[in-house]
């Protein structure tokens, strides 16, 4: 009975899936090993990647490969964090404005959709021309890329306020400020978190993406360097694993933040718009 419980626990299932995924990886790596001259550049074994992490060999500037990757990851994380905060905040504010004024909503909503369609990387030089600073450009672009989920979800949250609740506040002749702080914003918090959970990993990948706009320090910069050869091919694979790990971690941070902020209070609401992931 106890064994059965363990066998069907979600942790166990996840582990089985990960093991399965790793076996597929290894099979493919074995296959590549047979047919390629330099297999570690195309598809290395997982073991090789882990070994490279432990490798004490100095590869650049007094750093081992993993030290180098981590230094760059820190820079990316910092920019992603700032971009995420700016993107989330402006998304939230825009959602409030759109809720506040139907005209603003009507004007902004189609363009909000449009933002997703713009190949923002192509517009990077414009952003760069305006900000005159590559660091700021990177932050702005990752902010723009993370802005949409927050704005769209928060707006959905603001609109989820029931007519009865609105009537209640009207019956108290509550002013606009009170209606927003005591009704609209608290109601939208679970939705805001849904948006934040989507955009946190997005901010990380966006930040890595915009790193590649120019050299310098950052996971994306290092990624393009490692792609361009001249250093251990495992740096590239370390970056892939680390960036996936950071993305997942950022999601977990949002989940924890949500739990802390909403604790047991909003169970009903949270369940109403829970996500699978």
């Amino acid at each position: 009975m106890k064994l059965k419980k363990i066998l069907f626990s979600s942790t166990f299932i996840t582990i089985v899936w990960i093991v399965l995924l790793c076996s597929i990886w290894e099979l493919e790596a074995l296959h590549i090993e047979q047919i390629k001259r330099t297999p570690e550049k195309v598809f290395p074994h997982l073991m090789q990647i882990f070994e490279s992490i432990a490798d004490p060999k100095i590869i650049s500037n007094d750093q081992t490969s993993i030290e180098l990757v981590l230094t760059n990851a820190y820079a990316t994380l910092e920019r992603a964090g700032i971009g995420f905060l700016i993107g989330a905040l402006s998304g939230f504010i825009l959602a409030l404005l759109m809720k506040f004024s139907g005209i603003i909503e009507k004007i902004a909503f189609p363009y909000l959709m449009l933002i997703q369609m713009i190949p923002i990387l192509g517009m990077a030089p414009i952003v760069f021309a305006i900000t005159q600073d590559i660091g700021v450009s990177r932050i702005v672009i990752s902010g723009v890329l993370t802005f949409y989920p927050v704005a769209a979800n928060t707006l959905a949250g603001l609109k989820s306020v029931s007519a009865e609740n609105e009537n209640l506040f009207r019956s108290y002749s509550a002013n606009v400020f009170q209606t927003y702080t005591k009704l609209y914003i608290p109601t939208s918090i679970p939705f805001l978190f849904t948006g934040l959970k989507i955009s946190a990993p997005l901010a990380i990948t966006a930040s890595i993406l915009v790193d590649t706009l120019q050299g310098g320090v950052g996971l994306g910069c290092l990624l393009s360097q490692s792609l361009k050869g001249g250093m251990s091919p495992f740096v590239f694979w370390q970056i892939i694993f680390l960036s996936a790990a950071i993305g997942i971690l950022s999601l977990q941070v949002m989940v924890i933040a949500e739990k802390i902020i909403m604790s047991h209070k909003v169970r009903w609401n949270r369940e109403k718009n829970k996500n699978l992931i």
Partner: protein
């Protein structure tokens, strides 16, 4: 259950399972050749080699403004101007999807030949076609700024050129030390490759002429090839390109032969230079000038900015984010055709570093 797992595998390992099918030819690692065929193709070979790979459709180049010399070479032998995109690694060359690959003598060629980190260890089993031998060479790494900046800060520009060329001379005479300096300044490549690169770059700088010399004949050839092979979709830019003269792209006024001692009174003392690529020995002269205090001597405080991304050095210089840049002359030409006002102030490499490498 089994079915489900299979389906999952199919979906998740889509890439892998699909790449596995249709894979019948197993490549045997190339055996190190003991034949003594020369590393550089002779002109008679060139034609047959180009025809062979053009026929197979496996000539590679990076594109993105690096393809004009290749176009000129293909046109010279009446071959179609087609190439595959190389992704800045030599993996395509390694797995034979690219038979005749573009390579810089100081970078990719070294990776192909050598066995250090990132290398492919082909040793002497590869040979190459040299653009300089074929008469289709274009000038590459130079030093440039904007016309406005140069006119407003002539002494700064002169001082920067002077100190930089001093750095280049020192670096080219002492490549091992230069490699070490670059490596300590946040290099993007391994130590061994850095040394290889420094030695190869020194050959391109050509110490038989004063460092930074702008040779009008070589530059005119570059401009002529660009006019012929650069295709611009914007008709306004295309018209402008056709009308460009040497005076639109370079000025001799800011270059001084470093054999003569000189002093400067820079108008602006804090300046920055953006590289065309990631920090590596390709730009060793600037790192050396900074490290050896040559910039301090002329009263400049220089920041070296890494390149190597989609925001090109021409854009950064043009919009004033940095004061100087390092680019290829062809890139400067297309930028000016598009409306920038860039001005070359020194020519660091006197030869083209581009070769086409193939397996013997």
């Amino acid at each position: 259950m089994l079915k489900k797992i299979t389906a999952m595998i199919v979906a998740m390992g889509l890439v892998m399972s699909v790449s596995a099918c249709g894979n019948t030819q197993v490549q045997t690692p190339t055996t190190p050749a003991s034949d003594a065929a020369p590393a550089v193709a002779t002109p008679t070979d060139t034609k047959s080699i180009l025809e062979k790979y053009a026929g197979a459709g496996t000539i590679g180049n990076w594109g993105l403004g690096n393809e004009y010399e290749l176009y000129a070479l293909l046109a010279k032998y009446n071959l179609p101007l087609d190439f595959l995109s190389q992704d800045f690694t030599m993996d395509g060359f390694d797995d034979n999807s690219i038979g005749l690959a573009s390579a810089m003598t100081y970078n990719e060629l070294g990776l192909v030949k050598n066995s250090y980190d990132g290398g492919y260890n082909y040793g002497d089993t590869v040979a190459y076609i040299d653009m300089n031998d074929e008469g289709v060479a274009m000038l590459e790494d130079n030093l440039f700024t904007t016309k406005t900046f140069a006119e407003a800060n002539p002494e700064t520009v002169k001082a920067f050129v002077y100190a930089s060329m001093k750095g280049w001379k020192y670096a080219s005479e002492n490549p091992a030390e230069a490699a070490e300096i670059v490596y300590n300044n946040g290099s993007s490549v391994s130590k061994e490759h850095q040394l290889y690169m420094a030695e190869e770059v020194a050959k391109l700088v050509d110490l038989s002429v004063p460092v930074g010399t702008m040779n009008d004949t070589a530059m005119q050839q570059t401009l002529d090839i660009a006019k012929q092979y650069v295709k611009l979709d914007d008709s306004a830019a295309a018209t402008k390109l056709a009308a460009l003269t040497l005076d639109d792209i370079r000025s001799q006024a800011y270059w001084t032969d470093i054999a003569n001692a000189a002093t400067f009174t820079p108008e602006k003392t804090d300046v920055s230079v953006q590289l065309k690529w990631l920090p590596q020995a390709q730009f060793m002269g600037y790192f050396v000038a900074k490290d050896k205090g040559f910039y301090d001597e002329v009263g400049l405080n220089v920041t070296i900015v890494s390149g190597g991304g989609d925001i090109s050095e021409t854009t950064a210089v043009s919009n004033g984010t940095v004061d100087f840049g390092v680019t290829w002359v062809s890139n400067l030409i297309t930028s000016n055709a598009a409306g920038m006002e860039l001005l070359e102030v020194a020519q660091v490499y006197q030869k083209s570093g581009l070769v086409l490498v193939y397996k013997k």
